[in-house]
Symmetry: C2
Subunit: 764 residues, 2 copies
Amino acid sequence: MHNNRIIIRKEKYDNSELRLNETLFSNANGYIGVRGTLEEGVPSGYSTMRGMYLGGVYEIIPMKQAESLCNLVEKKQTMLNVADTQTIELYVCGERFEMGQGELLSNERILDMNGGFTARKIRWRSPGGRTVGIYIKRMASLDRPQIFVQEYTVKAEDFDGEMAFDSWHVADVRNYSDPDDPRLAAESPSYLTVLRAEVKGDTSLCVSKTGVSGVVIASAVSHVFPGSDSNGISAGYTVNEDKRCVCRIEAELTQGNEFKVIKYSAFSDSIRNEDPASDVITVLDEAKKNTEALYKKQRDILSAFWKRAGMEIKGDDDLDMAMTFNMYQLFCSAPKVQGSSIAAKGLTGEGYEGHYFWDAEMYTLPFFILTDKKLARNILSFRYETLDKARENAALLGHKKGALYPWRTITGEECSGYFPSGSAAYHINGAVSYAVVSYYLATGDSDYIVDEGEEILIETARLWLDTGNYNRDGKFVINEVTGPDEYTCMVDNNFYTNCAAAYGMKWAVRLMHMFERREKIAELKERLNITEDELAEMIRASENMYLPYDERFGISPQDDSFLEKPVWDIAATPKSDFPLLLHYHPLHLYRYQVCKQADTVLAHFLFPGNADRETMEKSFRYYEKITTHDSSLSTCVFSMQASRLGLHDEAVRYFGDSAKLDLLNLHGNSTDGVHTANMGGAYMALVYGFGGIRIDEKGLSIDPFLPDKLAGYSFRFGYHGCLLCLGVDREEMKVELTEGDIIEFSHLGVLHRLRGGEQWTAKL
Amino acid sequence: MHNNRIIIRKEKYDNSELRLNETLFSNANGYIGVRGTLEEGVPSGYSTMRGMYLGGVYEIIPMKQAESLCNLVEKKQTMLNVADTQTIELYVCGERFEMGQGELLSNERILDMNGGFTARKIRWRSPGGRTVGIYIKRMASLDRPQIFVQEYTVKAEDFDGEMAFDSWHVADVRNYSDPDDPRLAAESPSYLTVLRAEVKGDTSLCVSKTGVSGVVIASAVSHVFPGSDSNGISAGYTVNEDKRCVCRIEAELTQGNEFKVIKYSAFSDSIRNEDPASDVITVLDEAKKNTEALYKKQRDILSAFWKRAGMEIKGDDDLDMAMTFNMYQLFCSAPKVQGSSIAAKGLTGEGYEGHYFWDAEMYTLPFFILTDKKLARNILSFRYETLDKARENAALLGHKKGALYPWRTITGEECSGYFPSGSAAYHINGAVSYAVVSYYLATGDSDYIVDEGEEILIETARLWLDTGNYNRDGKFVINEVTGPDEYTCMVDNNFYTNCAAAYGMKWAVRLMHMFERREKIAELKERLNITEDELAEMIRASENMYLPYDERFGISPQDDSFLEKPVWDIAATPKSDFPLLLHYHPLHLYRYQVCKQADTVLAHFLFPGNADRETMEKSFRYYEKITTHDSSLSTCVFSMQASRLGLHDEAVRYFGDSAKLDLLNLHGNSTDGVHTANMGGAYMALVYGFGGIRIDEKGLSIDPFLPDKLAGYSFRFGYHGCLLCLGVDREEMKVELTEGDIIEFSHLGVLHRLRGGEQWTAKL
């Protein structure tokens, strides 16, 4: 495995790249997320989304329906921009450092994915002719998730003189808004009331509170000056009338020497801590003691991560770096404690208001299942903790039994304002139950099943039973749901949804029977009043699930009426009309065969037993022509299914689109945050697709191929407590059991057994 | 025909009847609508909806979508409560008249449908023991639609003493709101700014203006004292700080004598008049000159109306009165000038925000076509005047050609906030085109067709062509539309919609060819670039329209997927759960076979050529079982179709439910205004249903029956410039040509000819 996990970008200082770089060079650790905003600020008019976020911290805001209908959702949660502690203004001999003033001699952004930090490296000549070296390093600590560190070094290259920092700590911030983009919030009222803004000693403390959710957020900031004797340094805090804290730091610079300040920010909130204001001071004081230890720990954690998850693509450095970036971002986005999940944009931006979608389970979870079982478990536990809310949600939708997970949420309550492509997307239940089963199959963690998983499986299965009915032919049909493709809504018998429902019901019963002797399962049956009749009904519905098939095209139709609609002419649609959802009324889109994303193709990949190979290939070809990939969840699926079908060229092409989506901003909106689902999807396209890793009830199978364009690839992954490495090059494939005693896997249908430290090779 | 068109109700003075009586005893003339609110006001906490409305006068208010999607409507028009001129407080010897104080010796409400006024007749004993007779008469002038008159008479039965009126004129009013009912506005901000509130001589003038639509509304009020010498009478105006005008009138009462004041209110608006403030003074001064002439003219207009529309039901006085009430209300609701239409609640309340729906064309227009051609033309002209807005609406929905009328509107722009049961109800186009054809068939008014009607027919037909497509079997299908029954939404091939589309396209082409030699039609073809190819496409689509048929049940399915859903158990649903739309999430409703209203049954009635008799009867029986009639547009349709199918018992039962809906408040919400659509529907149930009147391309046919429960009925109706009367009793049916030279009609398939003054009878 390689070690070159450092991205360096030369940044133009104009409006074209800033906001994208804010995303790409953000810092996150699963609790804190800080956009890579310039410390000194940007001129007004520049496109910037300045923000610091805390995972799972939210305000509840009204979401009035234009027309009131029974039980529609009329409020939602939104992720908060909690404070601004990253702003540091620099003055050199009275000249304020601004990249747009004077002359920018060099300007680089650095993301070090081994060290777990970002940096800015600048040489700047002031309007007054002074040459200044600037190095700013930032880190959201993976070891101490409440800590964010900035290290700001200034070097006087060709002058002596005084310099000063104005280092801010502001809790009175607002969320970003864009009324023209439905994917972002439309307005930005002030969600926070600043309760306290005060200075004690060398620490400023801000405490603010949301108006409705009542969440209290505390932040504390302090500065240290390593490597300086304190001569000539003065630091004084002020709290402005408007409750903005600023620390004025003054020092003397001499030619050729540098001055460094380390700014620590700590955060705490009342969801996780009873007294966030005290907590944050304690945490801050502890962190300040040893910065170098923090850096080392950061490096150790990442080293361990790369050891478990290390991946290399040979023959395409860009692809290799893009995939490394994706995996790093996923790791930094994952909740390090139970109770929250991975948002659509991780912690890198406010897009989709910090909501968790099916993206978390269906797209990002496989990555964690294979690389970090504990993080996977954290993500899964969010659904268990919010199961009661899913039950309430089902009742609101008119169900007598079962649980329906919300389409988008932070706390577990539905936040979707337009239910036809929100609450109607019942396949969220399919994603959650699939995740439970996948985690079990890959880890063998039966405790999880009996403790949490089986209850989720039963309640989601109950919902399917309550939603569907038997048609005249005795087939179980599920009407009026929305599948993954939101360019049609509220359809009957969405192929994907029906597959997921059948799978979920089957496994709900299977695992219940498998562990029926476990005490907790007996308790569960008792508590939820689960009868054998009910389990038999689940099996009956699962086995008789209606899965539409179209004789004429030989494909699986997306839903009952899909193929009756005219085909949208994608080729004749102006490029500027994409994504279609921003340019066409939804009703118009619903009337055509046009897909925002993979839907049936995903069903074929996840539930391959439901169609034969020919049907799957014809379907792939059919849907490929009518899919716009307007969703970032699409190309990765097309890639992995192409791999499985042996369509290697397509697999490679789609993989590239998916893998590079954020790093190259292929969708144009990575400016608002990364696409975590696609990052996870790109990982699946590599591991499940090229690598041919498959984990199902029969166990692990490994059937890789090497795309022509690549020289080779390798990756590590976990399976039932062991660590494996798959390496593929032009000559051969190699499987190695690097941790663990013994493992079985099949290749080309033949079972192989590998002991710890052994490796197995085969010609490709 | 009878002359007893007077409704007298003894009113309890408690909270149970007041608001219903405000509706039933409202005054309207097609421009002004005044709720029958008590002049003196009611105690706080009483359920009252105090309001004065002007037809077509509106404000534009924001209607933000909970989730922003492309081209969704984000503002709407709302009818305004424009002013309060009806408030008159009475003081007798210093005691204020309040019905809840003292003793109510008698209390009646009167609606005189010959005289065209309402009245309150009260004997009241004050807490101080004075007995007072009160008679208050109110009229919205049909002759002068800008004038509303109140006549207030006070009689001192057993005392001498002074009395006083405080008569108010207030322009600073708000709309009614009820956050708990989706059918009413949820909040009530102030829409009006009072620009002027002033007194000149004996007249007060208020001018107010809406904030967004910029409509200026002027009202003027003046009082006269007929039959009094001015001795002892003083009248003085005050304008309060808050711009409320009040006229204090004082007089001496002597035992056994009475004092009367007539209060005139005049209204004008800037939509219809350039200078409403001047206009309203002119109109007021003119009206004041001769009150008796106003009353006489009112009586003459109604006399002429009843001569054309007179109806009598023998053997059920309640039914007779209910039908008379319905017809009277319809007549009073109709716009007397072109440019507005009939709102769902007429001018009797704020329910549905004064919006015009398909109700106007499909339910109320037939009544006007048969009783008042000019009013029918006014209603039709609204759609012609807003055709450009319908074109714009079609473009917003993604159509390249054609016009799509808005589901609900005042100005012609869509006001529906939830498009799946709003804009997606494309059958509004079917209602408009059906109306155009119906008007032509019943009147023979070819000028209307060439001037306006054909352009509507072509543009709505174009929309169908652009919406539908041919399926694999070569049938023209229309997907993703919502039919009349809103308990399913966005379905494929709604039977009703497809029938209406086929009919509209057929007639668009037929009338174009029929009048192709008329110069205006040639101009139209040129202007709209209508080619023969396009017309041929319309015919092709019409003739190949897909109309679903279900072999198993032998019925017309409501849409492609309807019969695949489970049947809702209406019998097992608690009574308190109706209407279902207030108690179940729409998605839940969509998943069942349950109908809010007639849908396929209406299609069978309007377009009888599309199914054979057996299919229609089976369909009737089938849908009857799954229809909740939660919509007021339902029972009338079931009644008329039952009549046509010879299901006389059902016809009578449904007719009663429909005819008495408002007078008996059967749906519980006549408190918010009358149901104009149902009133028109009840009329159709009588005339088309019992009377067996049918007007189609073959001409007029008359095939009545007499329900067992009735002794007979008769009604007058117009046809091709003639006036006919149909009378039916136990013995025979009688058709009389009371105006016009000659008419042909068929009975039992046999053609008959009748000359002016002749009558024709047949055994029943």
